[in-house]
């Protein structure tokens, strides 16, 4: 309780004065208000509101379509009233001024939207703008006529802007409960498919039937109940997780080892048992996540550890897939009916490794941008080779190879019609890939890769054969990707060159970057968030309505992450330090006072020197 008191009273004790309400930074408000308008109109014209309207989140109030617009004034209201707090500079207490700023930003956005609606009603620009449609107008009017729409947008945006800015003003305790409630509800609404599927597996169908309306979406009554439940739970568990984490962090030696072991076993058990309770669609989704996780783990070794920006990574995915198909499909001239899957896999690995060497050998001597471009080219070349008429007798050209029977393990046959079995197969390989990444990271080779990533020339001068080390990284990455390709083909039962477009490479790279480059946990989270929720290049995710906007969201997410959190969702400690060097060094500097004077001086030197180096690094 005392914690609540201190944290909620902290803002008021921080500074003594309140800024006058009218003392606005008008330029700032204008800027964000304009941005709000732009964003609202852009999202409308992209077609998100209409396209996503069918997915209902809270029945019958809120659909994903409306949410695609309504979050904008809320977030911008939050952003416009945010203060940069500087150590030693007195900043005004958040208050009426910030609320007004938020509301004004929303109001500007609302006005913009109102003008847009009127324009939508008056002109017909459907020719260049595909989504300039009566449906959009109807949706934006809430189906109640132009006047209502105009008033409603102005009012709604202002209120949302106000709400967004009020996040700064309300006490921290309240803020916490409200945000947990809101995000929790959103999560439950978004994950409807998964939750329904899971509860069905556990025989709790009646509960989900009452929570979710028939047409989808949480019912209003249940929304309120859920928010209250989540709020209460968040209040009760307040600080517990942090305490548990701190406890875990303090554990030493064998105790720590045991705790990690238990944690690991729990997670492993959960991943093994959970799919048994999941239906076909969810298992399919998990299998897809696993396939991309496998790819991302491989790319993580190539890009995250060795620093080789490989944009043609999909090539190895394709090689794995085609090798499997050629060996196991009766339609192919190399069909070997008696071959065990294990032997097939060995051949796949050998081939992928060979292709890795063949592509790697000329490419690996290049650096930076050149390497990226050349790998991009090789990725396409491999796909075109598979598609070519020249190799059509072997690879089937554009029609690909069909009739791949799936993996026969003797006691069970793994194929796409039984996604659960595919998931387990993928799980085994993901576990293997995680093990490989983990062990290699902390080995002589892993250190050599990191050194090459840091400074290739110096690594060479320190006795590392950089060409060999980089080739090895390439080959290890290629092998992991080929596993994924082999499983994909066994799962789908066919293989086509068009499954291996450049886009796949890019998406895997985005998974690695958004998740957290160079970090296994980051790659895991990245695959679940991007592939699981948004969906892969062809595989639908939980929000399969986003299918047509997926690339847009991927792009927006990438830009956002690069600006706000370049180290990724779950960064490796190393990388986040690197990217936030200045803050880190400030901490070091402050801590330095605890050490003796000479140390203190050193840290100061360090701060200066690395500051300069950081700039250099970002320029390069």
């Amino acid at each position: 309780m005392s914690a609540t008191m201190t944290s909620s009273s902290a803002p008021s004790s921080r500074s003594g004065y309140r800024a006058p309400v009218a003392d606005q930074d008008w330029r700032n408000v204008g800027k964000w208000g304009g941005l709000c308008t732009l964003a609202l109109v852009l999202v409308s014209l992209i077609g998100m509101p209409v396209g996503l309207d069918r997915r209902i989140l809270i029945h019958p109030v809120l659909s994903l379509g409306y949410l695609s617009l309504l979050w904008i004034p809320l977030v911008l209201g939050f952003v416009v009233s945010r203060h940069v707090e500087l150590e030693g500079v007195e900043s005004p207490e958040p208050g009426g001024r910030d609320l007004l700023a938020g509301a004004l930003t929303g109001l500007l956005g609302g006005f913009g939207m109102a003008v847009f609606i009127v324009a939508l009603d008056t002109f017909n620009l459907r020719d260049p703008l595909v989504n300039w449609s009566p449906q959009l107008l109807e949706l934006l009017n809430y189906g109640r006529g132009l006047g209502f729409g105009v008033v409603a947008w102005i009012a709604a945006c202002s209120v949302l802007g106000l709400l967004g800015s009020s996040i700064h003003v309300i006490p921290a305790g309240v803020r916490r409960v409200v945000s947990y409630g809101a995000f929790g509800l959103l999560g439950i609404a978004v994950l409807e498919g998964a939750i329904a599927d899971l509860s069905e597996g556990f025989g709790l169908q009646s509960l989900t039937d009452s929570i979710y309306a028939n047409r989808g979406g949480v019912t209003v009554v249940w929304s309120i109940v859920l928010v209250v439940i989540i709020g209460v739970v968040s209040m009760l568990t307040r600080g517990r997780f942090k305490a548990a984490k701190a406890n875990y962090g303090e554990l030493q030696g064998p105790e720590r080892k045991r705790a990690s072991m238990i944690l690991f076993l729990l997670v492993a058990l959960l991943t093994i048992i959970l799919p048994l309770f999941l239906g076909t669609i969810m298992n399919e989704l998990l299998a897809n996540v696993g396939l991309f996780l496998l790819l991302a783990l491989g790319l993580n070794i190539v890009v995250g550890l060795a620093g080789i920006l490989d944009l043609g990574y999909v090539a190895f995915f394709a090689v794995g897939g085609y090798t499997t198909a050629v060996l196991t499909s009766p339609d192919s001239p190399f069909f070997a009916p008696e071959m065990h899957f294990a032997i097939t896999l060995v051949i796949v690995v050998v081939f992928a490794g060979l292709v890795g060497l063949i592509i790697g050998a000329p490419v690996i001597r290049m650096r930076g941008d050149y390497l990226a471009i050349v790998t991009l080219g090789f990725g396409e070349i491999i796909r075109l080779l598979f598609m070519s008429d020249w190799l059509k007798p072997y690879f089937g050209g554009a029609q690909g190879i069909t009739n791949v029977p799936g993996v026969d393990l003797g006691f069970v046959t793994i194929k796409g019609t039984d996604p659960r079995s595919v998931f387990y197969l993928v799980l085994v390989f993901c576990a293997l890939a995680i093990y490989i990444s983990w062990r290699l990271q902390a080995s002589r080779l892993g250190r050599a890769w990191m050194a090459i990533r840091e400074d290739e020339k110096v690594a060479e001068a320190m006795g590392i054969n950089t060409v060999n080390a980089k080739l090895l990284a390439f080959v290890v990455g290629a092998v992991l990707a080929s596993f994924s390709g082999a499983i994909l083909v066994a799962k789908v039962g066919s293989v086509f060159p068009n499954s291996f477009m450049i886009l796949v490479s890019i998406i895997i790279l985005v998974v690695v970057i958004v998740g957290g480059m160079g970090n296994i946990a980051g790659v895991l989270v990245g695959s679940f968030v991007l592939i699981g929720v948004l969906g892969g290049p062809r595989q639908p995710g939980l929000l399969h309505e986003f299918q047509s906007f997926k690339l847009l969201i991927y792009g927006a997410l990438l830009v956002f992450m690069m600006l706000q959190r370049p180290e990724g969702l779950v960064p490796s400690a190393r990388r986040s330090q690197e990217l936030h060097q200045e803050e880190f060094l400030q901490d070091v500097w402050l801590k330095g006072e605890e050490h003796e004077g000479e140390e203190h001086e050193e840290e100061l030197h360090a701060a200066e020197a690395s500051g300069a180096e950081g700039h250099e690094g970002s320029g390069a």
Binding site: I436, S443, R447, A451, E603
Partner: protein, 262 residues
Amino acid sequence: MSHLMEIRDLKITFGGLDALSGLNFHVDEGEIVSVIGPNGAGKTTFFNAITGLVDPTEGDILFDGESILGLDPHQVTGLGIARTFQNVRLFPNMTVLENIMVAQHCRTSQLVLGALLQTSAFKKEEREIEERAKEVLAFFGSRLVGYRYDQPAFVLSYANRRRLEVARAMATQPRLMLLDEPVAGMNPMETAELTALIGRLRSEWGFTIVMIEHDMRVVRDVSDRVVVLDHGVPIAQGSYDEVSTNPDVVEAYLGRPAEDQA
């Protein structure tokens, strides 16, 4: 008696510019030789040529009686020549300990399989790498040990980075160590300390050292022999006292006296 390293008529041309023109040089086992000269005299190019970063246009470089011309930098390091860089070039995002561990790459051999299967040979090698790294770092007193092990190299102070670079070169287990301005940018106290350390590098670790240095006190205190380069040509050679009074050297550093020019 054959020299540890011998350089014969070394000539390096960068597009018409002679960085080095006809350099003859040798260093014997256990010597500390300083290479001095004004900026642009070709000192760093000389180091780059030895370590394989630059290919000589003419001439030959013999290490332990064998030509090392045309070898890759990592092969040269493998033969036992280590170097530091003039502008400190550590692996900034690797920890202090990792910086040293990675430098033992050419003295170790485990690859993928050992790491994956955690063979006893792999574990033994890892343990040895770590022990040797700690041993090397202990050479610098308490500055690079303890909590420093796990700090990324970029948080180190400038002087500590210089020390870490020397440590990294030591970890490659060389016979010949090339130090490129080891004390540049250090304050007098740090300079004195590192000067003493350079002496100990020879007496305790048995390294032969060739050092580029601008700080004449350091040169005087540690070197057995001084070579002066100017415009890619050695203009003087000998003990510090001989060289420092040599009129050609004084001219190269300070310019020709006014009356001579007239």
